[in-house]
């Protein structure tokens, strides 16, 4: 038996529902594969969002801080930009405890990259991490993990 699925039923037209279904199929299947973006909330109730934040960062090799490490950062970047200082917007040096501070950093996506020397293993260490600074509190903590 031959069945023509596109044949018009008596007294009705298939064109409009068919077109609708087709458009739905195309739009659903072409959706980007992205996680739903969570709606950011301030860290503390009653707090408001900040346009600029203070960064308190640490350069760490596992649980050991890396004193005097060089930290490079780049705004608007989620991927590792590269190992050359030219790949970054700016540079800051960690103190003798491995801590670094940045004031008035605009919120947004950043990539932080640290390099230094781990005396415990007598070797240079480096590594980076992408960070999304929401501005949900005045200070944001950034942990830059490095390894040999």
């Amino acid at each position: 038996m031959n069945v023509n699925l596109l044949a018009k039923p008596e007294g009705r037209t298939w064109s409009f529902p068919l077109l609708l279904i087709m458009c739905l199929m195309v739009s659903v299947s072409c959706q980007k594969d992205e996680d739903p973006v969570p709606v950011p909330q301030p860290a503390d109730p009653g707090d408001s969002f900040h346009d600029h934040v203070h960064i308190h960062g640490m350069v760490m090799h596992h649980s050991r801080a890396i004193p005097m490490a060089d930290v490079y950062y780049k705004m608007g970047e989620k991927d590792f930009p590269g190992s050359s200082p030219d790949d970054y917007d700016a540079h800051v040096q960690a103190d003798s405890t491995g801590a670094f501070h940045l004031d008035d950093l605009p919120t947004g996506n950043y990539y932080f990259y640290g390099t230094g020397w781990d005396a415990a293993i007598n070797d240079s260490v480096f590594g980076g991490i992408p960070t999304h600074i929401l501005g949900d509190s005045a200070t944001t903590h950034v942990h830059v993990p490095v390894t040999e």
Partner: protein, 490 residues
């Protein structure tokens, strides 16, 4: 164009578009790179995210790309992060785990800032690694590695044997050794191609051998009591074990010639007025067999056909023979490629002494770093490599050095600091690498371990020299278990 034809064309175009726009996650994949469906979400959401352990950014994340099963098994700059069947040696687990009762915990817990894996997810990871960490097809990494491509590393203080694939350089397996107290510490390891076994010598006189294909126990021999220290492969396919100190009946030590095929041995005992603390063994059927003794000032030529009788003593210092002199502390020995000379590493004086086998006289003294231990010869380049495990002078601030001696001139030609307390050596002539096992056991100054094992102590690590360039391979460092004391391969 008729309406019907238009409708068919439109339907076809829509189908093509909808299929081609489907998200990649919906595509069936059956290649070897796919992680099992219960493990893949853990890795992809916790690790292989943008900017971290993905294909683009992994260089700044320990060089560890966790995009798929193949890259995961390739490991990080510190070598394997998942060792099939060995969750206790899989650092990926440690850095995702937060419960020390379940597995070691390595800081910082990943992903930094969370969300962290749940207890159930960590348990899933442990089960997966315990089952061999297969891919979605059920393939287990390194399952088909040829026997002559495996380097066995004995971790003395952890009673484990790490196996490295000599092609990829990856740690591919760990094998637990018997915990039995009566075995004593694991002293040496030898791979024996003739029988297809790798054998471990335990200090209390046990020799346990395992099949290289299955690593299942194959031979278990009980030697006399003592403090057995070294195991050497002889050119006729037998093994020679050396007992540092004898039992109450004879203080001079002994050797045991082991026939693995017959599963028996013949022991030779030495009187203590002649030999004290025998430790090293080398030789060949043509040149003869030579044994060093830790306290003497001579090397002993031993006749196997005369039940281990000492047939000649070769002076190492030109002084009258004294079995307890203790000035030199001869340790390991090795024949020159032409079998005309014997090189002897003398711990106490930081020297390699060269003896002329034709005259029986000391030919030369070559100064190296303190505490020379193991030696190996690159016959192609005529180079003698020596590890000086406790040397603190050649590279101040570090402990240990590797010396290269040109055998044509007997001059030191190059030195390296290959790692902390280097000791065992293995020459991979096929791929032109010299592997060095760095013990890293000195509690006062050893390198920090990065990852932990079930047993206490700092992990050791294996490094290597590229023989073509004679440079330390800066890109290679395989962290192994505690105290890698000895190495052997096919």
């Amino acid at each position: 164009m008729s309406v019907k034809l238009f409708q068919w064309l439109f339907l076809g175009l829509t189908l093509v578009l909808s299929v081609s726009c489907q998200n990649e996650a919906f595509e069936p994949r059956s290649d070897s790179s796919v992680l099992p469906e219960d493990i893949e979400p853990l890795i992809s959401t916790a690790c292989a995210v943008t900017g971290c352990h993905d294909a683009i950014s992994n260089e700044a994340a320990a060089g560890l790309d966790l995009t798929d099963w193949n890259t995961l098994m390739a490991g990080s700059r510190n070598n394997a992060v998942v060792v099939p069947y060995s969750p206790a040696q899989s650092a990926l687990l440690f850095i995702l785990n937060r419960d020390e009762d379940v597995a070691p915990v390595l800081q910082p817990t990943m992903p930094i800032g969370g969300p962290y894996l749940s207890e159930e997810e960590v348990a899933l990871l442990i089960d997966w690694i315990s089952a061999g960490a297969p891919n979605a097809r059920g393939d287990i990494a390194f399952e088909q590695i040829p026997q002559d491509q495996k380097l066995y590393i004995l971790n003395n203080l952890c009673r484990e044997v790490a196996v490295i694939d000599l092609v990829s350089g990856s740690i591919m397996r760990y094998h637990r050794l018997p915990e039995a107290q009566e075995f004593g510490f694991a002293a040496d390891i030898v791979v024996d191609p003739a029988t297809g076994m790798w054998c471990v010598l335990f200090a209390n006189g046990w020799v346990q051998c395992f099949d290289v294909r299955t690593s299942l126990p194959a031979v278990n021999l009980r030697l006399p009591e003592g403090t057995w220290r070294s195991l050497e492969r002889m050119d006729d396919g037998t093994l020679m074990a050396v007992n540092w100190s004898g039992n109450t009946d004879f203080q001079g030590g002994q050797c045991a010639l082991i026939d693995l095929r017959a599963r028996n041995y013949q022991s030779f005992e030495f009187p203590d007025d002649q030999v004290f603390f025998p430790v090293g063994w080398t030789g060949s059927a043509t040149a003869g067999y030579f044994m060093s003794a830790y306290l003497g000032n001579a090397v002993y030529q031993v006749s196997l056909s005369k039940d281990g009788e000492v047939i000649r003593m070769l002076s190492l210092d030109g002084e009258p023979f004294d079995p307890q002199a203790g000035r030199l502390r001869p340790f390991s020995t090795i024949l020159s490629p032409d079998e005309q000379f014997l090189y002897v590493a003398c711990e106490r004086t930081g020297e390699v002494r060269k003896v002329d086998l034709a005259t029986g006289q000391l030919d030369r003294v070559i100064t190296v770093g303190y505490f020379p231990q193991e030696m190996v010869i690159d016959r192609e380049r005529h180079i003698l490599f020596v590890t000086c495990t406790e040397d603190e002078e050649t590279f101040p601030g570090r402990k240990g050095s590797l010396y290269a001696i040109d055998l044509r001139t007997d001059e030191v030609m190059q030195t390296w600091q290959p790692g902390y307390q280097p000791r065992a050596l293995w020459m991979d002539g096929k791929r032109q690498f010299l592997y060095i096992a760095n013990r890293n056991v000195d509690p006062q100054g050893a390198d920090e371990p990065h990852h932990y094992t079930e047993c206490e102590g700092k992990n050791g690590y294996v490094t290597r020299i590229d023989l073509a360039s004679m440079q330390l391979d800066d890109d290679y460092r395989a962290e192994v278990s505690v105290d890698p004391l000895a190495m052997s391969a096919w």
